[in-house]
Amino acid sequence: MAHPGRLADAQGGEESMGSRGSWFSQEVERIGHLCSERSSRRIRIEPAMAVIEVEGLGKTYPGGTKALEQVTFQVPKGEVFCLLGRNGAGKTTLLRILATQLRPTVGHASVLGHDVVREARLIRERIAVVPQEARPQMMLSAYDHIYLMSRIRGMPRAEAKKRTRSIMEEFDLWEHKDKLTADLSGGLRQRVMVSIALTMDPELLFLDEPTIGLDPLGRRQVWAMVRRMTKKGVTVLLTTHYMDEAEKLSDRLAIIDKGQTVFLGSVDAAKAHAGHGMQVIVESNENGGERKVLSPTSDQEILQVVQRGIQEGKRVTFKPPTLEDAFIAMVGGSIDDESA
Protein backbone atom coordinates (compact mmCIF):
# COMPACT_ATOMS: atom_id res chain seq x y z
CA MET A 1 0.00 0.00 0.00
CA ALA A 2 1.34 3.40 -0.90
CA HIS A 3 1.42 5.73 2.03
CA PRO A 4 -0.55 8.89 1.32
CA GLY A 5 1.94 10.91 3.37
CA ARG A 6 -0.31 13.90 3.67
CA LEU A 7 -1.65 15.84 6.59
CA ALA A 8 -5.25 16.78 6.19
CA ASP A 9 -6.83 19.05 8.76
CA ALA A 10 -10.22 20.36 9.68
CA GLN A 11 -9.79 23.40 7.53
CA GLY A 12 -8.76 21.25 4.59
CA GLY A 13 -11.89 19.22 5.08
CA GLU A 14 -14.13 22.23 4.92
CA GLU A 15 -12.34 23.53 1.85
CA SER A 16 -12.92 20.32 0.00
CA MET A 17 -16.61 20.53 0.83
CA GLY A 18 -16.66 24.13 -0.32
CA SER A 19 -15.02 23.22 -3.58
CA ARG A 20 -18.10 21.21 -4.50
CA GLY A 21 -19.68 24.55 -5.29
CA SER A 22 -23.10 23.30 -4.14
CA TRP A 23 -25.63 25.84 -2.84
CA PHE A 24 -25.65 24.03 0.51
CA SER A 25 -21.97 24.41 1.28
CA GLN A 26 -21.97 28.02 0.10
CA GLU A 27 -24.89 28.76 2.37
CA VAL A 28 -23.17 27.10 5.34
CA GLU A 29 -20.08 29.17 4.70
CA ARG A 30 -22.09 32.41 4.45
CA ILE A 31 -23.98 31.74 7.71
CA GLY A 32 -20.73 30.79 9.40
CA HIS A 33 -19.14 34.11 8.45
CA LEU A 34 -22.18 36.04 9.72
CA CYS A 35 -22.15 34.19 13.04
CA SER A 36 -18.46 34.74 13.60
CA GLU A 37 -18.76 38.46 12.78
CA ARG A 38 -21.62 38.87 15.25
CA SER A 39 -19.96 36.98 18.04
CA SER A 40 -16.66 38.82 17.58
CA ARG A 41 -18.51 42.12 18.04
CA ARG A 42 -20.07 40.95 21.31
CA ILE A 43 -17.34 39.03 23.12
CA ARG A 44 -13.74 38.32 22.52
CA ILE A 45 -13.21 34.55 22.67
CA GLU A 46 -9.86 33.62 24.14
CA PRO A 47 -8.27 30.57 22.58
CA ALA A 48 -8.36 27.68 25.07
CA MET A 49 -5.04 27.02 26.82
CA ALA A 50 -3.15 24.17 25.19
CA VAL A 51 -2.71 21.38 27.73
CA ILE A 52 -0.60 19.39 25.29
CA GLU A 53 1.72 20.90 22.68
CA VAL A 54 3.64 18.61 20.38
CA GLU A 55 6.00 19.83 17.68
CA GLY A 56 8.02 17.75 15.25
CA LEU A 57 8.06 14.84 17.68
CA GLY A 58 9.84 11.65 16.67
CA LYS A 59 10.88 8.44 18.32
CA THR A 60 13.34 5.83 17.13
CA TYR A 61 13.75 2.90 19.52
CA PRO A 62 17.26 1.75 20.50
CA GLY A 63 16.90 -1.22 18.12
CA GLY A 64 16.42 1.20 15.21
CA THR A 65 12.64 0.92 14.81
CA LYS A 66 11.18 4.26 13.82
CA ALA A 67 7.90 4.56 15.77
CA LEU A 68 7.06 8.25 15.33
CA GLU A 69 8.00 10.88 12.82
CA GLN A 70 7.34 14.61 12.74
CA VAL A 71 4.16 14.61 14.84
CA THR A 72 2.71 18.04 15.57
CA PHE A 73 -0.56 18.94 17.30
CA GLN A 74 -2.10 20.76 20.25
CA VAL A 75 -4.83 19.74 22.66
CA PRO A 76 -6.78 22.47 24.45
CA LYS A 77 -8.05 22.15 28.01
CA GLY A 78 -11.18 20.08 28.57
CA GLU A 79 -11.03 18.29 25.21
CA VAL A 80 -11.24 14.57 24.54
CA PHE A 81 -8.49 14.04 22.00
CA CYS A 82 -8.29 10.67 20.36
CA LEU A 83 -5.32 9.00 18.68
CA LEU A 84 -6.76 6.59 16.13
CA GLY A 85 -4.69 4.08 14.24
CA ARG A 86 -3.90 0.44 13.59
CA ASN A 87 -2.02 -1.70 16.06
CA GLY A 88 1.63 -0.67 15.86
CA ALA A 89 0.88 2.71 14.27
CA GLY A 90 2.68 4.60 17.05
CA LYS A 91 -0.27 5.65 19.24
CA THR A 92 1.03 4.08 22.43
CA THR A 93 4.53 5.41 21.82
CA LEU A 94 3.12 8.92 21.49
CA LEU A 95 0.96 8.55 24.61
CA ARG A 96 3.87 7.16 26.63
CA ILE A 97 6.10 10.07 25.63
CA LEU A 98 3.43 12.55 26.71
CA ALA A 99 2.89 10.66 29.97
CA THR A 100 6.67 10.96 30.63
CA GLN A 101 7.21 7.19 30.48
CA LEU A 102 9.33 7.23 27.35
CA ARG A 103 11.87 9.69 25.95
CA PRO A 104 11.45 11.15 22.49
CA THR A 105 14.44 11.17 20.15
CA VAL A 106 13.60 14.37 18.24
CA GLY A 107 11.19 17.26 18.53
CA HIS A 108 9.52 18.87 21.48
CA ALA A 109 6.49 18.09 23.61
CA SER A 110 5.09 19.96 26.56
CA VAL A 111 2.28 18.90 28.86
CA LEU A 112 0.51 21.38 31.16
CA GLY A 113 3.15 23.92 30.19
CA HIS A 114 6.15 21.77 31.10
CA ASP A 115 8.68 19.99 28.93
CA VAL A 116 8.19 16.21 29.00
CA VAL A 117 11.92 15.51 29.28
CA ARG A 118 13.31 18.31 31.42
CA GLU A 119 10.32 18.92 33.69
CA ALA A 120 8.78 15.46 33.92
CA ARG A 121 8.39 15.67 37.71
CA LEU A 122 6.20 18.76 37.47
CA ILE A 123 3.99 17.02 34.93
CA ARG A 124 3.67 13.78 36.89
CA GLU A 125 2.03 15.50 39.83
CA ARG A 126 -0.88 16.61 37.65
CA ILE A 127 -1.54 13.66 35.34
CA ALA A 128 -2.74 10.08 35.55
CA VAL A 129 -2.49 7.22 33.13
CA VAL A 130 -4.26 3.94 32.51
CA PRO A 131 -1.78 1.90 30.44
CA GLN A 132 -2.84 -0.45 27.69
CA GLU A 133 -4.02 -3.82 29.04
CA ALA A 134 -3.30 -2.80 32.62
CA ARG A 135 -5.08 -5.11 35.01
CA PRO A 136 -5.74 -5.15 38.74
CA GLN A 137 -4.15 -7.69 41.09
CA MET A 138 -6.59 -10.58 41.05
CA MET A 139 -6.26 -11.35 44.77
CA LEU A 140 -6.99 -7.80 45.93
CA SER A 141 -10.38 -6.13 46.12
CA ALA A 142 -11.39 -3.02 44.22
CA TYR A 143 -11.34 -1.15 47.56
CA ASP A 144 -7.77 -2.32 48.29
CA HIS A 145 -6.57 -0.99 44.96
CA ILE A 146 -8.09 2.45 45.24
CA TYR A 147 -7.33 2.91 48.96
CA LEU A 148 -3.71 1.75 48.71
CA MET A 149 -3.10 3.88 45.63
CA SER A 150 -4.45 6.90 47.51
CA ARG A 151 -2.06 6.13 50.39
CA ILE A 152 0.89 5.60 48.03
CA ARG A 153 0.15 8.98 46.51
CA GLY A 154 0.47 10.63 49.90
CA MET A 155 -3.12 10.98 51.10
CA PRO A 156 -3.66 10.80 54.89
CA ARG A 157 -5.54 7.70 56.07
CA ALA A 158 -8.91 9.33 56.81
CA GLU A 159 -8.89 11.30 53.58
CA ALA A 160 -7.87 8.22 51.58
CA LYS A 161 -10.82 6.27 53.00
CA LYS A 162 -13.21 9.10 52.20
CA ARG A 163 -11.82 9.57 48.72
CA THR A 164 -11.93 5.82 48.00
CA ARG A 165 -15.57 5.67 48.98
CA SER A 166 -16.51 8.73 46.95
CA ILE A 167 -14.76 7.46 43.78
CA MET A 168 -16.25 3.99 44.18
CA GLU A 169 -19.73 5.41 44.66
CA GLU A 170 -19.32 7.74 41.71
CA PHE A 171 -18.41 4.87 39.41
CA ASP A 172 -20.88 2.34 40.85
CA LEU A 173 -18.15 0.19 42.36
CA TRP A 174 -19.12 0.50 46.02
CA GLU A 175 -21.45 -2.49 45.93
CA HIS A 176 -18.47 -4.58 44.73
CA LYS A 177 -15.99 -3.16 47.22
CA ASP A 178 -15.14 -6.41 49.01
CA LYS A 179 -15.07 -8.67 45.99
CA LEU A 180 -11.71 -9.80 44.69
CA THR A 181 -11.06 -8.28 41.29
CA ALA A 182 -10.72 -11.85 39.97
CA ASP A 183 -14.47 -12.11 40.51
CA LEU A 184 -15.35 -8.89 38.66
CA SER A 185 -16.35 -8.57 35.01
CA GLY A 186 -13.94 -7.05 32.47
CA GLY A 187 -15.87 -3.78 32.47
CA LEU A 188 -15.75 -3.51 36.26
CA ARG A 189 -12.03 -4.31 36.31
CA GLN A 190 -11.40 -1.56 33.79
CA ARG A 191 -13.47 0.80 35.96
CA VAL A 192 -11.19 -0.12 38.87
CA MET A 193 -8.15 0.80 36.77
CA VAL A 194 -9.64 4.14 35.75
CA SER A 195 -10.68 4.78 39.38
CA ILE A 196 -7.08 4.22 40.47
CA ALA A 197 -6.03 6.90 37.99
CA LEU A 198 -8.56 9.31 39.42
CA THR A 199 -7.44 9.08 43.04
CA MET A 200 -5.41 12.26 42.72
CA ASP A 201 -7.83 14.41 40.69
CA PRO A 202 -5.67 14.64 37.57
CA GLU A 203 -5.96 17.59 35.22
CA LEU A 204 -5.02 15.37 32.31
CA LEU A 205 -5.92 11.72 31.93
CA PHE A 206 -4.19 9.38 29.49
CA LEU A 207 -6.15 6.28 28.51
CA ASP A 208 -4.37 3.76 26.30
CA GLU A 209 -6.91 1.55 24.52
CA PRO A 210 -9.27 1.75 27.51
CA THR A 211 -11.92 -0.60 26.12
CA ILE A 212 -9.80 -3.26 24.45
CA GLY A 213 -11.25 -6.69 25.09
CA LEU A 214 -14.41 -5.39 26.75
CA ASP A 215 -17.94 -6.41 25.83
CA PRO A 216 -20.34 -3.72 24.51
CA LEU A 217 -21.71 -3.01 27.99
CA GLY A 218 -18.23 -2.68 29.48
CA ARG A 219 -17.24 -0.31 26.69
CA ARG A 220 -20.25 1.89 27.31
CA GLN A 221 -19.44 2.00 31.03
CA VAL A 222 -15.94 3.26 30.25
CA TRP A 223 -17.29 5.82 27.77
CA ALA A 224 -19.67 7.12 30.42
CA MET A 225 -16.74 7.51 32.82
CA VAL A 226 -14.79 9.51 30.25
CA ARG A 227 -17.75 11.81 29.69
CA ARG A 228 -18.08 12.35 33.43
CA MET A 229 -14.42 13.31 33.58
CA THR A 230 -14.69 15.88 30.82
CA LYS A 231 -17.71 17.45 32.55
CA LYS A 232 -15.37 18.12 35.47
CA GLY A 233 -12.93 19.88 33.13
CA VAL A 234 -10.42 17.03 32.88
CA THR A 235 -8.62 16.83 29.54
CA VAL A 236 -8.52 13.30 28.15
CA LEU A 237 -6.12 11.87 25.61
CA LEU A 238 -7.05 8.37 24.56
CA THR A 239 -5.80 5.92 21.99
CA THR A 240 -8.07 3.49 20.25
CA HIS A 241 -8.43 1.43 17.15
CA TYR A 242 -12.21 1.28 17.50
CA MET A 243 -13.91 3.64 15.06
CA ASP A 244 -17.15 3.90 17.04
CA GLU A 245 -15.21 4.79 20.18
CA ALA A 246 -13.34 7.58 18.40
CA GLU A 247 -16.58 8.80 16.84
CA LYS A 248 -18.57 8.81 20.09
CA LEU A 249 -15.95 10.20 22.43
CA SER A 250 -13.58 12.52 20.65
CA ASP A 251 -13.87 16.26 20.24
CA ARG A 252 -10.95 16.02 17.84
CA LEU A 253 -8.81 13.18 16.65
CA ALA A 254 -5.50 12.46 15.02
CA ILE A 255 -5.21 9.52 12.66
CA ILE A 256 -1.78 7.99 13.04
CA ASP A 257 -0.32 5.66 10.46
CA LYS A 258 3.22 4.31 10.40
CA GLY A 259 4.27 6.87 12.98
CA GLN A 260 2.92 9.87 11.08
CA THR A 261 -0.17 12.01 11.53
CA VAL A 262 -2.27 11.66 8.40
CA PHE A 263 -5.26 13.60 9.72
CA LEU A 264 -5.91 16.08 12.47
CA GLY A 265 -9.33 17.58 13.13
CA SER A 266 -12.91 16.79 14.07
CA VAL A 267 -14.76 13.57 13.25
CA ASP A 268 -16.98 15.46 10.80
CA ALA A 269 -13.97 16.93 9.06
CA ALA A 270 -12.48 13.44 8.80
CA LYS A 271 -15.67 12.09 7.23
CA ALA A 272 -15.61 14.87 4.67
CA HIS A 273 -12.44 13.26 3.33
CA ALA A 274 -14.23 10.06 2.43
CA GLY A 275 -14.98 10.48 -1.26
CA HIS A 276 -17.43 13.27 -1.89
CA GLY A 277 -19.04 13.01 1.52
CA MET A 278 -21.61 10.48 0.29
CA GLN A 279 -21.47 6.87 -0.83
CA VAL A 280 -23.82 5.43 -3.44
CA ILE A 281 -24.69 1.74 -3.22
CA VAL A 282 -25.92 0.14 -6.46
CA GLU A 283 -27.37 -3.35 -6.02
CA SER A 284 -29.02 -5.85 -8.28
CA ASN A 285 -32.61 -6.58 -7.23
CA GLU A 286 -32.01 -10.33 -7.54
CA ASN A 287 -30.90 -12.28 -4.52
CA GLY A 288 -27.14 -12.77 -4.44
CA GLY A 289 -26.73 -10.26 -7.23
CA GLU A 290 -23.92 -7.80 -7.71
CA ARG A 291 -23.40 -5.02 -5.12
CA LYS A 292 -21.19 -2.00 -5.72
CA VAL A 293 -20.27 0.73 -3.25
CA LEU A 294 -19.22 3.85 -5.13
CA SER A 295 -17.71 7.09 -3.83
CA PRO A 296 -18.47 9.69 -6.51
CA THR A 297 -16.20 12.71 -6.57
CA SER A 298 -18.69 15.36 -7.77
CA ASP A 299 -22.41 16.19 -7.81
CA GLN A 300 -22.38 15.45 -11.55
CA GLU A 301 -20.96 12.02 -10.95
CA ILE A 302 -23.57 11.26 -8.27
CA LEU A 303 -26.33 12.08 -10.75
CA GLN A 304 -24.74 9.92 -13.45
CA VAL A 305 -24.39 6.94 -11.11
CA VAL A 306 -28.00 7.25 -9.95
CA GLN A 307 -29.39 7.64 -13.49
CA ARG A 308 -27.41 4.69 -14.81
CA GLY A 309 -28.47 2.52 -11.88
CA ILE A 310 -32.16 3.33 -12.35
CA GLN A 311 -31.94 2.75 -16.11
CA GLU A 312 -30.42 -0.68 -15.49
CA GLY A 313 -33.24 -1.50 -13.07
CA LYS A 314 -30.99 -1.63 -10.04
CA ARG A 315 -31.63 -0.51 -6.49
CA VAL A 316 -29.78 2.70 -5.63
CA THR A 317 -29.30 3.80 -2.01
CA PHE A 318 -27.14 6.41 -0.31
CA LYS A 319 -24.97 6.08 2.75
CA PRO A 320 -23.31 8.93 4.59
CA PRO A 321 -19.59 8.29 5.03
CA THR A 322 -18.40 6.70 8.24
CA LEU A 323 -15.18 7.34 10.07
CA GLU A 324 -14.00 3.99 8.77
CA ASP A 325 -14.55 5.17 5.17
CA ALA A 326 -12.53 8.26 6.02
CA PHE A 327 -9.79 6.13 7.56
CA ILE A 328 -9.60 3.91 4.48
CA ALA A 329 -9.56 6.96 2.20
CA MET A 330 -6.72 8.54 4.15
CA VAL A 331 -4.63 5.53 5.09
CA GLY A 332 -5.37 3.30 2.13
CA GLY A 333 -6.64 0.26 4.02
CA SER A 334 -8.88 -0.91 6.83
CA ILE A 335 -7.87 -0.32 10.46
CA ASP A 336 -7.80 -4.08 10.99
CA ASP A 337 -5.43 -4.63 8.09
CA GLU A 338 -2.11 -4.67 9.94
CA SER A 339 -0.14 -5.78 6.91
CA ALA A 340 -1.20 -2.75 4.87
Binding site: P62, T100, R103, A120, R124, L148, I152, G154
Partner: protein, 245 residues
Protein backbone atom coordinates in the same frame (compact mmCIF):
# COMPACT_ATOMS: atom_id res chain seq x y z
CA UNK B 1 8.95 10.69 55.63
CA UNK B 2 6.59 10.92 52.66
CA UNK B 3 8.94 8.79 50.54
CA UNK B 4 9.23 6.18 53.31
CA UNK B 5 5.44 5.94 53.46
CA UNK B 6 5.31 5.61 49.67
CA UNK B 7 7.78 2.71 49.85
CA UNK B 8 5.91 0.97 52.68
CA UNK B 9 2.58 1.17 50.86
CA UNK B 10 4.10 0.01 47.57
CA UNK B 11 5.56 -2.95 49.46
CA UNK B 12 2.20 -3.61 51.06
CA UNK B 13 0.41 -3.33 47.72
CA UNK B 14 2.82 -5.83 46.18
CA UNK B 15 2.70 -8.34 49.03
CA UNK B 16 -0.89 -8.00 50.24
CA UNK B 17 -2.24 -10.83 48.06
CA UNK B 18 0.20 -13.16 49.82
CA UNK B 19 -0.35 -11.68 53.29
CA UNK B 20 -4.07 -12.32 52.83
CA UNK B 21 -3.35 -16.00 52.12
CA UNK B 22 -1.44 -17.20 55.24
CA UNK B 23 -1.43 -20.84 54.14
CA UNK B 24 0.41 -20.03 50.92
CA UNK B 25 2.69 -17.67 52.80
CA UNK B 26 3.72 -20.35 55.30
CA UNK B 27 4.33 -22.83 52.48
CA UNK B 28 6.51 -20.40 50.52
CA UNK B 29 8.30 -19.35 53.65
CA UNK B 30 9.19 -22.95 54.48
CA UNK B 31 10.51 -23.99 51.07
CA UNK B 32 14.11 -23.08 51.82
CA UNK B 33 13.89 -24.99 55.12
CA UNK B 34 12.72 -28.29 53.62
CA UNK B 35 16.27 -29.67 53.05
CA UNK B 36 16.96 -28.99 56.76
CA UNK B 37 14.07 -31.26 57.61
CA UNK B 38 15.42 -34.04 55.38
CA UNK B 39 18.89 -33.73 56.86
CA UNK B 40 17.39 -33.87 60.36
CA UNK B 41 15.22 -36.90 59.55
CA UNK B 42 18.05 -38.83 57.92
CA UNK B 43 20.13 -38.02 61.00
CA UNK B 44 23.44 -36.95 59.51
CA UNK B 45 24.48 -35.61 62.90
CA UNK B 46 23.86 -32.40 64.84
CA UNK B 47 26.61 -30.49 63.04
CA UNK B 48 25.13 -31.30 59.62
CA UNK B 49 21.69 -30.26 60.84
CA UNK B 50 22.95 -26.90 62.15
CA UNK B 51 25.03 -26.28 59.03
CA UNK B 52 21.97 -26.86 56.89
CA UNK B 53 19.96 -24.53 59.15
CA UNK B 54 22.51 -21.75 58.61
CA UNK B 55 22.43 -22.46 54.87
CA UNK B 56 18.65 -22.23 54.92
CA UNK B 57 18.79 -18.86 56.69
CA UNK B 58 21.13 -17.48 54.01
CA UNK B 59 19.09 -18.99 51.19
CA UNK B 60 15.78 -17.86 52.60
CA UNK B 61 16.82 -14.27 51.97
CA UNK B 62 18.64 -15.17 48.75
CA UNK B 63 15.48 -16.69 47.30
CA UNK B 64 13.51 -13.65 48.43
CA UNK B 65 16.02 -11.49 46.55
CA UNK B 66 15.76 -13.48 43.32
CA UNK B 67 11.97 -13.38 43.73
CA UNK B 68 12.11 -9.65 43.05
CA UNK B 69 12.55 -10.58 39.37
CA UNK B 70 8.92 -11.69 39.30
CA UNK B 71 7.69 -8.57 41.11
CA UNK B 72 9.60 -6.31 38.72
CA UNK B 73 8.46 -8.19 35.61
CA UNK B 74 4.79 -8.54 36.56
CA UNK B 75 4.44 -4.98 37.81
CA UNK B 76 5.96 -3.68 34.59
CA UNK B 77 4.65 -5.98 31.88
CA UNK B 78 1.58 -7.72 33.29
CA UNK B 79 -0.24 -5.39 35.70
CA UNK B 80 1.57 -2.31 34.31
CA UNK B 81 1.63 -0.66 37.71
CA UNK B 82 5.16 0.59 37.05
CA UNK B 83 3.82 2.77 34.23
CA UNK B 84 1.07 4.02 36.55
CA UNK B 85 3.66 4.92 39.20
CA UNK B 86 6.00 6.56 36.70
CA UNK B 87 3.22 8.91 35.63
CA UNK B 88 2.61 9.98 39.22
CA UNK B 89 4.55 11.64 42.02
CA UNK B 90 5.98 8.30 43.22
CA UNK B 91 9.80 8.30 43.18
CA UNK B 92 11.79 5.46 41.56
CA UNK B 93 13.67 4.91 44.83
CA UNK B 94 10.40 4.43 46.77
CA UNK B 95 9.23 1.99 44.12
CA UNK B 96 12.46 -0.05 44.24
CA UNK B 97 12.55 -0.06 48.05
CA UNK B 98 8.85 -0.97 48.21
CA UNK B 99 9.26 -3.98 45.91
CA UNK B 100 12.39 -5.05 47.80
CA UNK B 101 10.68 -4.90 51.18
CA UNK B 102 7.74 -6.89 49.86
CA UNK B 103 10.08 -9.76 48.96
CA UNK B 104 11.28 -9.86 52.58
CA UNK B 105 7.84 -10.08 54.16
CA UNK B 106 7.33 -13.62 52.92
CA UNK B 107 10.48 -15.03 54.47
CA UNK B 108 10.53 -13.13 57.76
CA UNK B 109 8.35 -15.46 59.92
CA UNK B 110 10.31 -18.62 59.11
CA UNK B 111 13.55 -16.68 59.35
CA UNK B 112 12.74 -15.45 62.86
CA UNK B 113 12.08 -19.02 64.03
CA UNK B 114 15.29 -20.29 62.41
CA UNK B 115 17.34 -17.51 64.01
CA UNK B 116 15.93 -18.31 67.43
CA UNK B 117 16.72 -21.99 66.95
CA UNK B 118 20.25 -21.12 65.86
CA UNK B 119 20.71 -18.89 68.91
CA UNK B 120 19.61 -21.68 71.24
CA UNK B 121 21.54 -24.51 69.56
CA UNK B 122 24.93 -22.92 68.73
CA UNK B 123 27.60 -21.08 70.72
CA UNK B 124 27.26 -18.10 68.35
CA UNK B 125 25.68 -15.66 70.83
CA UNK B 126 24.01 -12.39 69.88
CA UNK B 127 27.03 -11.04 68.00
CA UNK B 128 27.37 -14.25 66.01
CA UNK B 129 23.66 -14.17 65.11
CA UNK B 130 23.99 -10.52 64.07
CA UNK B 131 26.97 -11.43 61.86
CA UNK B 132 24.99 -14.30 60.28
CA UNK B 133 22.16 -11.80 59.66
CA UNK B 134 24.59 -9.37 58.05
CA UNK B 135 25.89 -12.07 55.70
CA UNK B 136 22.32 -13.03 54.77
CA UNK B 137 21.37 -9.39 54.17
CA UNK B 138 24.37 -8.76 51.88
CA UNK B 139 23.46 -11.93 49.95
CA UNK B 140 19.84 -10.74 49.78
CA UNK B 141 20.93 -7.34 48.40
CA UNK B 142 23.10 -9.02 45.73
CA UNK B 143 20.37 -11.32 44.55
CA UNK B 144 17.77 -8.58 44.83
CA UNK B 145 19.85 -6.56 42.36
CA UNK B 146 20.13 -9.64 40.15
CA UNK B 147 16.35 -10.01 40.37
CA UNK B 148 15.83 -6.37 39.32
CA UNK B 149 18.20 -6.77 36.36
CA UNK B 150 16.52 -10.04 35.37
CA UNK B 151 12.93 -8.84 35.82
CA UNK B 152 13.58 -5.66 33.86
CA UNK B 153 15.18 -7.42 30.91
CA UNK B 154 12.81 -10.40 30.67
CA UNK B 155 10.32 -10.03 27.83
CA UNK B 156 8.55 -13.35 28.15
CA UNK B 157 6.04 -14.23 30.88
CA UNK B 158 7.03 -17.90 30.90
CA UNK B 159 10.70 -16.98 31.43
CA UNK B 160 9.71 -14.51 34.15
CA UNK B 161 8.47 -17.48 36.15
CA UNK B 162 11.07 -20.09 35.23
CA UNK B 163 14.35 -18.12 35.30
CA UNK B 164 14.21 -17.18 39.01
CA UNK B 165 13.43 -20.82 39.86
CA UNK B 166 16.36 -22.02 37.77
CA UNK B 167 18.69 -19.50 39.38
CA UNK B 168 17.41 -20.56 42.79
CA UNK B 169 18.40 -24.12 41.97
CA UNK B 170 21.83 -23.14 40.64
CA UNK B 171 22.66 -20.77 43.49
CA UNK B 172 20.87 -22.51 46.32
CA UNK B 173 20.35 -26.23 46.08
CA UNK B 174 23.40 -27.35 44.06
CA UNK B 175 26.34 -25.53 45.70
CA UNK B 176 27.54 -26.39 49.22
CA UNK B 177 25.16 -24.16 51.13
CA UNK B 178 23.08 -26.73 53.01
CA UNK B 179 25.96 -29.15 53.17
CA UNK B 180 29.70 -28.62 53.93
CA UNK B 181 32.14 -27.61 51.19
CA UNK B 182 34.33 -30.64 51.88
CA UNK B 183 31.53 -32.92 50.61
CA UNK B 184 32.21 -31.55 47.13
CA UNK B 185 34.90 -33.53 45.22
CA UNK B 186 38.23 -31.77 45.71
CA UNK B 187 38.66 -30.93 42.00
CA UNK B 188 35.28 -29.13 42.03
CA UNK B 189 35.84 -27.20 45.26
CA UNK B 190 37.54 -24.15 43.63
CA UNK B 191 34.62 -23.87 41.19
CA UNK B 192 32.09 -24.21 44.03
CA UNK B 193 33.92 -21.48 45.95
CA UNK B 194 33.27 -19.08 43.06
CA UNK B 195 29.53 -19.27 43.65
CA UNK B 196 28.61 -16.31 45.89
CA UNK B 197 26.10 -18.30 47.94
CA UNK B 198 28.91 -20.75 48.82
CA UNK B 199 30.98 -17.87 50.17
CA UNK B 200 27.95 -16.51 52.06
CA UNK B 201 27.25 -19.93 53.59
CA UNK B 202 30.91 -20.40 54.59
CA UNK B 203 30.95 -17.02 56.36
CA UNK B 204 27.60 -17.61 58.05
CA UNK B 205 28.69 -21.06 59.29
CA UNK B 206 31.87 -19.51 60.62
CA UNK B 207 29.98 -16.80 62.55
CA UNK B 208 27.59 -19.43 63.91
CA UNK B 209 30.62 -21.24 65.35
CA UNK B 210 30.19 -24.29 63.11
CA UNK B 211 33.24 -23.92 60.87
CA UNK B 212 36.80 -22.67 61.36
CA UNK B 213 37.98 -20.11 58.78
CA UNK B 214 41.33 -18.33 58.52
CA UNK B 215 41.57 -14.51 58.41
CA UNK B 216 42.45 -14.47 54.67
CA UNK B 217 39.47 -16.74 53.97
CA UNK B 218 37.15 -14.39 55.88
CA UNK B 219 38.53 -11.34 54.07
CA UNK B 220 38.22 -13.06 50.70
CA UNK B 221 34.66 -14.15 51.51
CA UNK B 222 33.52 -10.62 52.36
CA UNK B 223 35.37 -9.06 49.42
CA UNK B 224 33.78 -11.60 47.09
CA UNK B 225 30.28 -11.00 48.46
CA UNK B 226 30.56 -7.21 48.36
CA UNK B 227 32.22 -7.26 44.93
CA UNK B 228 29.43 -9.48 43.62
CA UNK B 229 26.84 -7.03 45.00
CA UNK B 230 28.61 -4.08 43.33
CA UNK B 231 28.77 -5.85 39.95
CA UNK B 232 25.10 -6.78 40.16
CA UNK B 233 24.28 -3.23 41.24
CA UNK B 234 25.93 -1.93 38.07
CA UNK B 235 24.05 -4.51 36.01
CA UNK B 236 20.72 -3.55 37.60
CA UNK B 237 21.43 0.15 37.03
CA UNK B 238 22.08 -0.58 33.39
CA UNK B 239 19.07 -2.81 32.75
CA UNK B 240 16.32 -1.66 35.13
CA UNK B 241 14.90 1.65 33.94
CA UNK B 242 12.24 3.82 35.53
CA UNK B 243 11.37 5.51 32.24
CA UNK B 244 12.06 3.61 29.04
CA UNK B 245 14.93 4.78 26.80
Amino acid sequence: MMRAREAVYIGLFDSLPLLRDPMLMILLSLISFLPVLFIFVFNAGESAFLQSLVGAIVLSLAFAGIGSAQSVYFNKHWFRFQDIFVASRVSPVSYAVGLSVSTLLVSLPALAIAMTLLFLQTPAGILGILAVTLVAVVTWISLLLLGFALGASTKNTRRANSLPQLLGLLLGFLPPVYYPLDRVPSYLQPAAALIPTTQAAQLAKYYAGLLPLSAPEITFGWAYLVGFAVVLGLLAARLAHWTDP
